[in-house]
């Protein structure tokens, strides 16, 4: 049986892990290569680097991080943030990433999904989606870290991503992100039902049981969290033990 995946995410700026996103009050909290290695030892099924570097020079630093990590961490690596073109995708994969995650850029230029999938294969194109509720079981897609409402229906958008060749959807709920009250089950369910490709739950994990909850209440394939793991409130191992005790298959 296919195991449910637990994915820690590291926010990286200028080659350092940072926390306190919302782009204010960011503080450096570590070396991304070391953090990735630590997560690997804890049993992470995949590791995501989310690059919040604004400058062009900074992107080269991110690729160095990927290159170094790929030499000692032998689980899939995903890089998101700032990927705008097919060349960015190529550079990131050649540095040792297995997948890229495209978000705002894909909303503004959906052909990036298709071109990326046609050239490199669907398996390496993950589409990150930020969405927020606008009514009962209705959500719209936001870009730029949740600041701009694109007024695009979430379900229409994820179906379009799948059609364009996305291999996976990483669904982040703006409503539950940072609240730490659990994943957005209603939104997750709606997206899982709408597409055939794997869906990663993101945004809202605050305690041990939240991961198992997402797996028991929806057919999502994976769950992702950043700060919870980063501040060592929980280890990946503890989350997996909890899932296992509830009958969920994990590695």
């Amino acid at each position: 049986m296919l195991a449910k995946r637990i994915i820690p995410c590291l926010d990286v700026r200028d080659g350092k892990v940072v926390k306190g996103v919302n782009f204010e009050g960011i503080k450096e909290v570590g070396d991304p290569v070391e953090c990735a290695y630590e997560y690997n030892l804890q049993g992470a099924d995949e590791i995501v680097f989310y690059d919040i570097t604004a400058s062009h020079e900074g992107r080269g630093v991110m690729l160095d991080v990927v290159r170094e990590t790929a030499k000692k961490v032998f689980v899939p690596l995903t890089v998101g943030g700032g990927i705008k073109t097919v060349d960015d995708i190529r550079d990131t994969l050649r540095a040792g990433a297995d997948k890229v995650s495209v978000n705002s850029q894909a909303v503004q230029n959906p052909s990036l999904i298709k071109e990326g999938a046609d050239i490199f294969g669907s398996q390496c194109i993950c589409v990150g989606v930020d969405a927020k509720a606008i009514g009962d079981k209705k959500w719209t897609v936001f870009i730029n870290g949740g600041r701009i409402d694109m007024k695009i229906d979430l379900i229409d958008w994820v179906k379009k991503c799948e059609q364009l060749g996305a291999g996976e959807i990483c669904l982040n709920s703006i409503d539950t992100d940072g609240v730490r009250g659990g994943f957005d089950i209603d939104m997750l369910k709606a997206v899982v039902d709408a597409v055939k490709i794997p869906v990663i739950a993101s945004g809202g994990a605050g305690k041990l049981g939240d991961f198992a909850d997402a797996f028991l209440k929806t057919d999502c394939s994976a769950a992702l969290a950043a700060s919870l793991f980063h501040f060592r409130e929980l280890t990946v191992g503890q989350v997996k033990d909890d899932c296992r005790s509830k009958g969920i298959i994990v590695r």
Binding site: M1, L2, A3, K4, R5, N40, D45, A70, K71, K72, F74, V75, P76, L93, R94, G96, D98, F120, G121, S122, Q123, C124, G167, E168, K196, I197, P198, D219, S221, A222, R251
Partner: protein
């Protein structure tokens, strides 16, 4: 030296990184002499079958691969494993390397999330030297939408996703294939790679 065939497919650096980490000398190459001089050969691959066969044909390596796979250990990974078979129906019917009997077709089951992406458990079917030192609860990383259809003798391990999905195949002599990515399968994957390069 282990030759990693570089025919323009992605993910070849990961295979090299894993072999470097294990302390084995390897070379990314598209040269016939390197394949002839290598102790063993790895055919990686990510992408579509017809495209990969075209690239291999264009590199002029097909005959060398067929020849060398009869005299030294040869491992196909993911698409590289699918290329070992007679033909594939990905997009169009396309001939493969025909080193092992069987064909490649879509994982076609309703209600199944496709691609088959993530960690799945190895279920052993026959003894295989690649499994030396592995336990009964080993997970490896898969990402694919097509699978091979072959006979029981060839299938040394599978995993369950809908039905049986071939995970490890072997011709019983020098040719092996892994549908999963050993270079991305943590300790279990590294052990499988180490077992492969230790083959004589």
């Amino acid at each position: 030296m282990i030759a990693i065939i570089d025919y323009g497919a992605g993910n070849i650096f990961s295979v090299k990184n894993a072999l470097d980490y294990l302390g084995y000398e390897s070379r990314l190459t598209d040269k016939r002499e390197d394949l002839e001089n290598a102790d063993s050969i790895i055919l990686p691959g990510v992408g579509a079958f017809p495209w990969a066969m075209n690239m291999l044909s264009a590199s002029g390596l097909v005959d060398t691969i067929k020849e060398q796979a009869k005299i030294k250990p040869f491992l196909g990974i993911c698409l590289g494993m699918q290329l070992l078979f007679e033909k594939s129906y990905e997009f169009e019917e396309c001939s493969g390397l025909s080193l092992i009997n069987g064909y490649v077709d879509k994982i076609n089951e309703p209600d199944l999330v496709i691609p088959h992406m993530g960690w799945n458990k190895l279920e052993y079917n026959h003894n295989c030297p690649l499994f030396d030192g592995l336990g009964n609860d080993e997970y490896v990383y898969f990402v694919h939408s097509y699978k091979v259809f072959t006979d029981d003798k060839t299938l040394t391990a599978f995993c369950t996703y809908g039905g049986k999905v071939p995970a490890v195949v072997s011709d019983g002599r020098y040719v092996y294939g892994c549908q999963f990515h050993p270079e991305k399968s943590g300790k279990t994957g590294l052990k499988i790679l180490e077992n492969f390069v230790s083959l004589k």
